[in-house]
Symmetry: C2
Subunit: 338 residues, 2 copies
DNA sequence: TTGTAGGCGTTATCAC
DNA sequence: GTGATAACGCCTACAA
């Protein structure tokens, strides 16, 4: 903080000293009224509140933070707010903290390790009480995660880095693939529509886990690995078709990939679910926008937010790092009907 | 800040005094090295940097902020991170500030006026250098906007409240509707496909402006007003059909509504663009996920981010409140081909 | 119950 | 070029 931007000084900001003078009491009395730390006699209290209102006093949280060593702030680091799943996670974490005394502030790392590092330093420097982060990269983000965990309560969200013993809250990816597997076993003729996997290069633990569980549940089935985005889904279709597959059940590692797959199939003249079934993962809202709507494993974002709140609110005596996996559920769409 | 959350004290944090002692210099020298404010002799500089690295010193921005009265922070208030357009705006604002000395911190107001107020107080209390906000409500957010503008450089984004003379950066909605109008005049037989408008109740200035411009460009054409979401788009289709329209050119006030319209039309067995053309507004990424892809007026989010950066970086001598409108462009999709 | 005083970590002013 | 010192705004012993 504190450099690079011009100052916007209008009039000198009102401090507790101003309020105290105006109300004819001491600053400590003002402090006790404002922070409601200790009881203050009715008349004095009214005088203070009156003076504060009259002068337009707003507490300076920087002063308070310096004194108390805490900030009632949770910093959330997200790789990309333009990614519907990440922004949904950010929104639901904010909602979960709405009733708490702490404010959630979000910083986008723009998928860049250096920006991620800057974000961690930004939050630590601002003395946040907790850092919640979706690491950019499964291995290369380890330094940022360690740095955060060294001086603040830190929780990894959705993805976890290898080699850092730090709290984690995320989806039970194995269970999610279990739901997909059961769905396929019960509703799909895999002789007619053999199973294929379109995933992402395993730069994130989630991608990694889903891929591993897929290969375990469906050994020897073809897998296609690219990026975690729409364009890769479209491109994967070309690879699948040029490999000679004309019918199948495509399991996508993320909804955004699945939506690309559906779009790509349509461009090439194939029908969903008649020629290919498609199943996604994450449960992003826009899965409904697809035509047909996407069958997907929904991550319980509300529950994930709540779990982070619980973890942050816990007395820090429970130091041993916890890994909480939350069970997802299957949302049936028309891309793979039940 | 500073209450409600348990403290996470590991070991006493390292301060400049610790570094100074370890390096055998004064705190002033450490400060000068760390903040690069003034030149320091080579050997001392190295000693300080060495000591800082050895002790793992991290600057405490709260102390700095208290002293300097500035924080190198821009606070962004967004109504809903789950809304693809808002989160895209947040992402691009973050990107625009990547090269700047200031950090962008995002707070979601959850579309709630009280949370919005809390967010403004959270940012002002933390002494942010600038507040950038997408107001929740065209009229009811005025107090929050005024409060912010009273003590910090404040910029309204995308929407502006009535009755507050505060900077504004957003899309030229009239020009956007001009693009739509020209497109329709040049490529659509409006006798075969008469024009209809599906908008949102005018709680936001953007919705308001688009609606007004539509009625001006297409007088006496039917308009349907609901919410700014997918469900309303779907529902609007039912109203349109029950009014007896079986063909038409539907102008939606936002992509998210347009996507709902496409979905609704499909459910009812109508084809796009054969029976109905659909045109959206905003240019959200997921417009590509629709089938057919959505023709839309794209807001230049990169340029909007850059403009906010410029406005924040400007010396505050240019006090008169500015209103910057950025021209959008038309993106042709298959829902209304060119 | 209220007031006084000291200090949180940093930077700016002033001497040297 | 460097060091001592005084704030910035707030909270909290401690004293009254």
């Amino acid at each position: 903080m504190a450099e690079g931007l011009p100052q916007h000084a209008l009039s000198r900001p009102v401090t507790m000293a101003d309020v105290a003078a105006h109300a004819g009491v001491s600053v400590s009395t003002v402090s006790r009224v404002i922070s409601a730390a200790r009881p203050v006699a009715e008349p004095l209290r009214d005088a203070v509140l009156g003076a504060a209102a009259e002068l337009g006093y707003q507490v300076n949280l920087v002063g308070r933070a310096l004194r108390k060593g805490r900030t009632a702030t949770v910093g959330l680091l997200v790789p990309d707010l333009d990614n519907p799943f990440f922004s949904s996670l950010a929104q639901h974490l904010s909602t979960a903290f709405e009733g708490s005394a702490a404010d959630v502030l979000v910083f986008s790392t723009c998928g860049d390790l250096r920006v991620e590092r800057r974000g961690v330093e930004a939050f630590l420097g601002r003395q946040v009480d907790a850092v919640v982060m979706i690491p950019c990269h499964e291995s290369e983000s380890v330094d940022s995660v360690r740095l955060a965990a060294h001086s603040a309560l830190t929780i990894q969200l959705d993805r976890q880095v290898v080699g850092a013993d730090v709290h984690f809250v995320g989806c039970d990816n194995a269970a999610g693939l279990g739901l997909i597997t059961t769905h396929i076993r019960e509703h799909v003729d895999v002789d007619d529509k053999p199973v294929l996997y379109v995933g992402a290069k395993t730069l994130s633990s989630s991608g990694h886990e889903r891929f591993q569980q897929f290969t375990q549940n469906f050994p020897d089935r073809p897998t296609y690995l690219g990026d975690f985005d729409f364009a890769w889904g479209q491109q994967a279709v070309d690879e699948i078709l040029s490999d000679g597959h004309t019918r199948g059940t495509i399991v996508a590692a993320a909804d955004i990939i699945g939506l690309g797959v559906i779009a790509g199939l349509h461009v090439r003249g194939y029908r969903v679910p008649d020629d290919f079934r498609v199943i996604g993962f994450d449960g992003i809202g826009v899965a409904r926008f697809a035509h047909p709507t996407l069958t997907t494993v929904r991550q319980p974002v509300e529950e994930i937010g709540q779990t982070v709140l619980d973890l942050v609110s816990l007395p820090r005596s429970t130091t041993p790092s916890r890994s909480v996996r939350i069970a997802p559920d299957l949302i049936l769409g028309d891309s793979s009907p039940g």
